[in-house]
């Protein structure tokens, strides 16, 4: 059973400027029992998410709507288990695939094939599974013999195509996305679009952050609106397409 349940989820980003990163100051304050270096003890932080509670069930396609800095990306990263809630909790069950950074872990000096393995390893896919899907990835990326060349020689579009092909090759229960991915040229975009649609419809939960109400109306059946880190609305949307 797949789910994402948040209970009073709060995230505070600590701001560690030079004063707070200094070992000397902290050491001084330990030695002197806090008398010296005291001024820097007020720890500054920014509240990125405040008191969010929601229950995302299988079949939910959730759109996260909000302005810049409203906490959409932070929430996605908490869902991806990258950031831990500073208060409250987020419980999840199911294989999570985050399509936030498609080329993460790829190395420009390594060949396309090597990068498939590298990116797969970072995504936590077992080597045997990568080997099994390598032909599928190669075919879908449409890069052909380019895969034998170092990624350094690729255009940025080709690199994203490869990243996309790898990231979407493995089935997922929960998919996290920041905006709908637009990859490559017109022809590839169409292929990517249908693959993404197929993948998201196979997954039991989709969370998509976006600025665009149109996009959320066409993909999602539920919408959560964030403002300054707080949840201001949680409503269901009708499929318009």
């Amino acid at each position: 059973m797949t789910y994402l349940i948040a209970e009073r989820l709060t995230v505070d980003y600590p701001i560690l400027d030079v004063g707070h990163r200094s070992f000397k100051k902290d050491a001084l304050s330990w030695i002197t029992g806090g008398r010296i270096g005291e001024t820097s003890n007020h720890r500054l932080s920014i509240r990125a998410l405040e008191d969010l509670s929601f229950d995302i069930k299988p079949g939910d396609r959730v759109g996260l709507l909000g302005h810049n800095g409203s906490g959409k990306s932070t929430l996605l990263k908490v869902m991806a288990n990258v950031y831990w809630p500073t208060q409250g909790s987020l419980k999840s069950q199911g294989r999570i695939t985050s399509l936030l950074d498609l080329t993460l872990g790829m190395e420009v000096e390594a060949t396309g094939y090597e990068n498939i393995h590298l990116r797969g390893a970072i995504l936590g896919v077992k080597p045997a599974d990568i080997k099994q899907s390598i032909n599928d990835i190669a075919e879908f990326s449409g890069l052909g013999d380019y895969l034998r060349l170092p990624v350094r020689t690729y255009s940025s579009g080709m690199m994203v195509r490869l990243g996309f092909a790898i990231s979407t090759a493995f089935p997922a229960d929960i998919i996290l996305m920041d905006e709908w991915l637009g990859v490559g040229d017109a022809q590839f975009q169409e292929q990517a679009n249908s693959r993404l649609k197929e993948m998201t419809s196979n997954a039991s939960i989709l969370v998509l952050a976006s600025h665009s109400t149109d996009l959320i109306n066409s993909v999602c059946n539920r919408c959560i609106r964030l403002e300054h880190g707080k949840m201001v609305q949680d409503f269901s949307v009708e499929y318009s397409s």
């Binding site: 990163r21 288990n81 872990g105 000096e109 390594a110 590298l118 390893a121 080597p127 170092p150």
Partner: protein, 262 residues
């Protein structure tokens, strides 16, 4: 997160998740070979040039036989370079992998293991060069070679948790990284790498309380004299176990903050 869940997650890096750091570490080394013919052997080569130059001059300065001094110095320098790079790179393991840590959820030990594995592979490059050198001077025995491999395993076992501790501290306090590298620079001169312990003229505490002396001893002693230094081995193993306990404890109490620090 409970302790059991934490241990399950982090220690997974050593079992099912080991292919991640294996692959990343392997590619780090491969990266050094790319567009360079001898790749990581450059490190070996610079060690050898250093050893050759220093050996000739210091054997005169210290009034020692070149045949006795050169193999000792070569082993010492190569093992020291390994320890030095292991600690320096390990201490920046979390900072260096910040872009990965902030995007995907992997056990944090993965990043330290990657550095440990990379440095072990690079050490093997230098170690291979030692074998013909020692054979030429008639030092190496098969038993000694096997013992020094065991010694190297113990050294890696002990240094890995040390880098976990340092990496966490360095992620929080950015001043610590340069502190470590300058401390290690000093350690080079007070550790018996370039000189023999007998030459200390009574100042034995320099060696007695110097953990690096035992680490080097564990690899160098079997290669040169064909004996396994049991006392050093016991001490290093004890240090290693303590360090692992401390490293896992610190990681447990701070793993939730680490992504925010990077």
């Amino acid at each position: 997160m409970t302790l059991t869940n934490f241990l399950k997650r982090e220690l997974n890096a050593l079992s099912h998740g080991r292919h991640t750091w294996y692959l990343l570490g392997l590619h780090d080394v491969k990266g050094r070979y790319r567009r360079s013919i001898i790749g990581p052997f450059w490190i070996t080569l610079s060690s050898l040039v250093f050893v050759g130059g220093l050996g000739v001059v210091y054997s005169r300065l210290l009034n020692l036989d070149l045949e006795e001094y050169l193999p000792y110095l070569a082993c010492g320098i190569i093992v020291w370079t390994f320890i030095l790079n292991f600690i320096n790179e390990g201490a920046s393991a979390l900072i260096g992998s910040a872009h990965i840590i902030k995007q995907v959820s992997l056990p944090l030990l993965t990043h330290m293991m990657r550095v440990a594995f990379r440095n072990t592979l690079i050490f093997l490059h230098s170690w291979v060069i030692l074998i013909p050198l020692l054979l030429w001077y008639g030092y190496l025995t098969t038993y000694g070679l096997l013992c020094s491999i065991l010694g190297a395993v113990l050294v890696i076992f002990t240094l890995t948790p040390l880098t976990v501790l340092l990496a966490i501290v360095c992620a929080r306090y950015r001043d610590v990284l340069p502190m470590i590298s300058s401390a290690l620079q000093l350690m080079f001169f007070v550790t018996p790498v370039m000189w023999f312990p007998q030459q200390l003229a009574g100042l034995t505490s320099v060696i007695k309380y110097n953990p690096f002396a035992y680490l080097i001893d564990l690899i160098r002693e079997p290669m040169l004299n064909g004996v396994f230094p049991l006392a050093s081995a016991g001490l290093v193993l004890g240090m290693g176990l303590l360090l692992w306990a401390a490293a896992l404890a610190l990681l447990f109490t701070h793993h939730k903050q680490i992504p925010y620090w990077l």
